[in-house]
Symmetry: C2
Subunit: 221 residues, 2 copies
DNA sequence: TTATATAGTGAATTTGGGTTCATTTTATGA
DNA sequence: TCATAAAATGAACCCAAATTCACTATATAA
C-alpha cells in the first residue's frame, strides 16, 4: 500500500470506514503534517530541515519519506490543507443566502475566529499567498493557491454586488470593495497577531465594521 | 583597499570627490546590487545562486566576493537600499508642514510613482516586510527593516492625528487609520502591478481617495 | 511459536550551491 | 617596454541538508 498516493486530503471524510491500521496511518500522516506546519510557519520552507520535522513529529527521517515523496511535496500538502481550511470556511459563510450586510459581518467574525484558532496556518498561508506579492517556493504552487484566494475574493465581491443592487451598500466597484475589506481586516488581524494581549480579538471585527462597513460601504438610510 | 567596508551606501554622497578608480568600483558595486535586486525580487533569496547573480552582473563569482562578504550580506545591502529608498521618499512627504489632507493626497501620489518606477524593489521589500506576516531570511534583518516600516506608519498616523485635531478628518484612532490607508492602497497597487495594462496607475490614487479619504476619514463640512 | 509481511529506522550517500584561492588579466608608472 | 601591484577569474573545495536503503522492530497469520 502506497500511502503517499492513497491517503489524500479528499479521502479524509471516509475516515470512519477505514480499518484500524489505516486509521493509525492517517493519524501519523496528520501528525507529520502538523509538525511540518508549525515549523514551516515559524521559520519558512528553507530554514527547516527534514531532520527537524522528523524530530518534532517523533519519527525517523526515513519514515517521513514513507508518507511524502519529498520535502517539496510535504510542503505542498501542508499549504493545501491550510488553503482549503481557510478558503472553504470563509466561502461557506459567503454563500449563505441571507441579508448581505449580515453575511459580511459573519464573514468578519468567522475570519477572526479562524485567525485566532489557526495562527500557524494563517502565518504560513499569508507568507505564501501574501499581501499581494508572491515570491514563492514554487511558481506552480503559487498558481494553485492563488486561485483559491482569488475565488474567495470574487465571492466576497459578489456579496457586495448583490448588496449594492439591494441598496444595502453604497454603489462602488464591488471587486474593489472586496479587496479593500480583505486588506483592512488583514492589516488589523496581523496587528492583533503581533501582540494578541494588547486588545481582545473581538475588537478587530468591531474596528473593521466601524471603519469599513459603516463609513465606506453601508448606505445611510 | 577593502571595498566591502569602505564603500557604504551612506558614502554615496561623496561620489564626486572620488578618484576615477573609486568611482569605477562604486559603479561595479551598484551593478552587482542591481543584478541581485532583480533576481532576488523575482525568485526569492533561496532560489537565486551566486552563480546566477554573477552571470547577470557579468562578473565572475569571485569578483562578487570582493565586494560583499557573503550572499547574506549582499542580500542585506539590497534590502537596505530598497527600504531606504521607499521609506525616506515617503517620510519626506509626510513631514511637509502643509494641510494634512494635501499631505495624504501627495503621499498617495508619491507612493504610486514609487511603485511604478521601482517594481523590483517594491516586490522584494514587501516580500520581506510584507502584509504583516514575517517569515524572513534572517530574524535580525527583520527587526531592522521592520522598524523602518513602523516608523513610516507612525508618521502617517501623526498626520492623521493632526488632521483630526484640525477637524479635517473624522475622529478615529489615527494609528488604525494609518494602517487602513496603508493596506488599502497596497492592495490596489498590488492589483495594478499584477496587470499594469488593465488600468493606468493614476486610477489607484483616485480609487484610494474615493474609497478611503472621502468616505472614511474626511469630515464632511 | 515461528514465518512472513509490513512499518520504522538512521547511518551513509548524494547533491546543490556558497565560498575559497591559485592563477590569469589588466592597470599603473618607472 | 617591462616590472609590479591590483583586480578579476572560475575550477575546486566543502558542507549542510535532502534522499536512500540495508537493516531492525513490530504486527499478522499460519
Amino acid at each position: 500500500m502506497d500511502l503517499t498516493h492513497t491517503l489524500h486530503l479528499g479521502d479524509k471524510m471516509k475516515k470512519d470506514k477505514l480499518s484500524r491500521k489505516e486509521r493509525e496511518q492517517l493519524q501519523r500522516r496528520t501528525e507529520i503534517l502538523q509538525a511540518a506546519l508549525e515549523l514551516f510557519s515559524q521559520k519558512g520552507y528553507h530554514n527547516v530541515s527534514m531532520q527537524e520535522i522528523a524530530a518534532r513529529a517523533e519519527f525517523a527521517v526515513g519514515t517521513i519519506y514513507k508518507f511524502f515523496k519529498s520535502k517539496e511535496e510535504l510542503y505542498r500538502e501542508v499549504l493545501m490543507q491550510t488553503a482549503i481550511l481557510i478558503c472553504s470556511t470563509l466561502s461557506e459563510v459567503l454563500e449563505e443566502k441571507v441579508n448581505e450586510y449580515i453575511t459580511i459581518k459573519k464573514y468578519l467574525e468567522t475570519k477572526c475566529k479562524l485567525f485566532m484558532e489557526n495562527i500557524s496556518a494563517i502565518q504560513l498561508y499569508f507568507a505564501e499567498v501574501g499581501g499581494g506579492v508572491r515570491i514563492n517556493v514554487k511558481r506552480a504552487l503559487d498558481t494553485e493557491l492563488r486561485s483559491f484566494y482569488d475565488q474567495m475574493i470574487r465571492k466576497l465581491a459578489t456579496v457586495f454586488d448583490k448588496g449594492i443592487q439591494k441598496k444595502i451598500f453604497q454603489a462602488f466597484d464591488p471587486y474593489y470593495l472586496a479587496l479593500a475589506l480583505e486588506s483592512i481586516s488583514n492589516a488589523f488581524l496581523f496587528e492583533w497577531m503581533e501582540n494578541p494581549d494588547k486588545f481582545p480579538i473581538s475588537t478587530i471585527a468591531d474596528l473593521t465594521e466601524k471603519i469599513f462597513l459603516e463609513r465606506i460601504s453601508l448606505l445611510p438610510k
